[in-house]
């Protein structure tokens, strides 16, 4: 098996990820603390109704206590929401990819139905590329019945080969990379 990774040291991966995803029309913010992450998400939401998954990092960032955010996960809630916020198992720097899996805290629909998807991840979760992911996660089927690699906003060029974003999946993607999850106090405690 050919392995092509570990070509850039970890500190550059976030930037590599950023340029790859931004080239696809996604938005990337690299922040230092969970508090900053929470602030970014609030501003990106701009008051839209959102569903957040129950990933621990989101709690650390105070996202579940943002005004327009609920963690109610039913399909109806996902279909009605304007945005969703999740974390991700990994990110792949080379292609600007998020690796999400359906599990105890994330439904399949949460990152699929709402037209805007925001993901908050720790910098340490960024791998180089697909090959490294398959090396680190030797058995993708082990943890979840649905592991999905998300590379940018949903798109089509089926009409006259013109690029349109947001066909069935989200057309708007934000990824917030948090450099240090444990260092600073959480956004929630800053409020009080």
């Amino acid at each position: 098996m050919l392995l092509r990774f570990a070509s850039s040291p970890p500190p550059d991966r976030a930037e590599k990820f950023r340029s790859a995803l931004e080239a696809l029309g996604g938005k990337v913010a690299i922040v230092n603390t969970p508090g900053e992450a929470g602030a970014y998400v609030e501003s990106a939401l701009a008051g839209r109704r959102a569903i957040a998954s129950q990933a621990p990092i989101l709690e650390a960032c105070g996202i579940d206590s943002l005004p327009s955010v609920t963690t109610e996960h039913s399909r109806q809630a996902c279909a009605a929401a304007d945005a969703s916020i999740t974390s991700a198992e990994y990110a792949l720097a080379e292609t600007g990819t998020l690796v999400v899996s359906a599990g105890l805290r994330d439904s399949r629909m949460v990152s699929l139905l709402p037209p805007c998807h925001i993901a908050v991840i720790e910098r340490s979760k960024i791998l180089e590329n697909l090959d490294e992911f398959l090396d680190v996660c030797r058995q993708p089927a082990a943890q979840s019945s649905a592991v999905v690699l998300i590379t940018g906003p949903s798109r089509t060029a089926d009409i006259e080969m013109r690029l349109v974003r947001g066909v069935h999946g989200p057309g708007e993607i934000h990824v917030v990379i948090v450099n240090n999850v444990t260092a600073a106090p959480s956004y929630a405690s800053e409020e009080t």
Binding site: R108, I150, V164, V167
Partner: protein
């Protein structure tokens, strides 16, 4: 009297709008591929192609083993494998499933395999609506047409065509921007996704060691088809299996780049069975329909079985100068382009369309871009030999006789020397018929050489 295929080809060639659409769309896809597989962008490309070829070769040489391993692992994860000898068995399973679960609405994501077995038409006869959810396929379904290209199915439709279609079939407001048209389709299909009882997808790869079905797409409709309804059915040819999850790196690095010039498509899903204990959503039942439909017959031919390595990227179509002129509708079966030229005779028998393997200049562009290195020109030549052996070549006995005489002449240089210029002179005076007429319909003849090279050489030596 012109045959059906000649009419179709003539129609395609005679439609300037279509010509422009095919050429620019395939050109864009081909350029995308070229950019992402260049030595700078992807130094391992050639090595990876060879690797992919070898994995496929190995897998198909031991297909029964890997299919059994696949079945074991799919069932270990709570799914069920259905072995379908042909389209009839596959369709029967799906129809019975829909009846038993009392559902008559199915959502489908793009699958050439389901088109191969005419699934939608048969389900419709049983009162079951199967809605195509890939935007291009949805448009075609509303229009009642077949896909034009494996990756860009609605290549030949303008935005005005689509606007009128949506107004008529969906009672939508008049919109003509691609963005607004897409939004109309999104809303219409969202309802179907959430209402349907069964979601049917194809499969890009089947992983034997883990029972994973891999779906590759850009829109999100495959994800919705396999996750929203209570039941997910994946329909796949048996040749899609690869041995290990680790092998996916090889194929996924090749597929997106070869197809559209994307290093990774937007969504790559690794699905393994129905929802598990504790998962918040997902289908409750999962079925993998493994379709033969003639594949084991192709497998039996050691020289041509590499035709089954195909990962359906469409690169051969986008780079084929013939496809880029005659378009998808000129081909007799669901698979068009160079891959269609070699699959069709092997599945249908060479007798069905004996003209097809000859509709190629053997330029080799297809083999050059194939990510799994299928030797398409070599297979075309083998098919041509089969056709003449069977005596069903379009030129008939006359052609065979002509080549026999020609071969004799080529072994008798002194007679050849005398006959050739006489034949050439006579031909230039003859009425325009047969090959001469065909040549002259498109281009001028070269001027006759007054003396051959060998005559001139002899004169010089003196």
């Amino acid at each position: 009297m012109a045959e059906p295929y000649q009419h179709k080809i003539a129609n395609a060639l005679g439609d300037p709008k279509l010509q422009l659409a095919i050429y620019s769309a395939t050109g864009r896809l081909a350029d995308g591929r070229r950019r992402t597989v260049s030595t700078e962008a992807f130094p391992d490309y050639q090595e990876l192609r060879q690797h992919a070829h070898e994995i496929k070769k190995h897998t198909l040489n031991h297909l029964d083993f890997y299919l059994q391993e696949l079945e074991r692992n799919v069932e270990a994860r709570g799914g069920r494998v259905i072995w379908a000898r042909d389209g009839q068995e596959a369709r029967a399973f799906i129809r019975n499933l829909a009846r038993e679960r009392a559902t008559n609405l199915i959502v489908k994501s793009k699958s050439m395999t389901t088109e191969e077995i005419h699934l939608n038409e048969h389900l419709a006869q049983d009162g079951i609506e199967a809605v195509e959810t890939d935007l291009g396929e949805y448009i075609l379904q509303l229009a009642g047409e077949k896909p034009f290209h494996i990756i860009a199915p609605a290549l030949h439709k303008t935005r005005e065509d689509i606007a009128h279609l949506f107004e008529r079939r969906l009672h939508a407001a008049h919109e003509t921007t691609p963005e607004r048209l897409t939004a109309i389709a999104r809303a219409a299909l969202r309802e179907k996704f959430l209402e349907a009882g069964i979601g049917i997808t194809g499969a890009n790869f089947l992983v034997a060691d883990s029972g994973i079905v891999v779906l590759v797409e850009n829109e999100g409709n495959a994800r919705l088809s396999c996750s929203a309804p209570r039941i997910h059915v994946a329909v796949s040819g048996i040749e899609k299996v690869i041995p290990r999850a680790q092998d996916l790196g090889v194929f996924l690095n090749l597929l997106g780049r070869s197809a559209t010039g994307q290093p990774l498509s937007v969504y790559t899903s690794f699905l393994s069975g129905p929802r598990r204990e504790g998962e918040l959503d997902g289908p409750e039942e999962f079925y993998l329909v493994l379709l033969d439909n003639g594949r084991t017959k192709v497998l039996a031919d050691a020289e041509k079985r590499q035709s089954l390595y195909c990962i359906r990227c469409g690169a051969c179509l986008n780079n084929c100068p013939v496809y880029r002129k005659i378009g998808g509708y000129s081909y007799p079966w669901v698979y068009s382009g160079p891959i269609g030229k070699i699959l069709t005779p092997q599945f249908m028998g060479v007798h069905q369309d004996p003209w097809l393997p000859f509709a190629s200049s053997l330029c080799g562009a297809c083999a050059e871009v194939c990510p799994v290195k299928i030797e398409i020109p070599k297979i075309l030549l083998a098919l041509r030999a089969e056709i003449t052996e069977a005596g069903i070549q379009k030129g008939g006995m006359l052609e065979k006789l002509a080549f026999r005489m020609w071969a004799w002449l080529m072994r008798h240089p002194r007679i050849y020397e005398r006959v050739a210029p006489v034949a050439a002179a006579a031909a230039s005076r003859l009425p325009r018929a047969g090959p001469l007429k065909a040549w002259l319909s498109q281009r001028d003849l070269p001027p006759l050489a007054r003396r051959s090279f060998r005559q001139l050489w002899r004169e010089r030596r003196k």
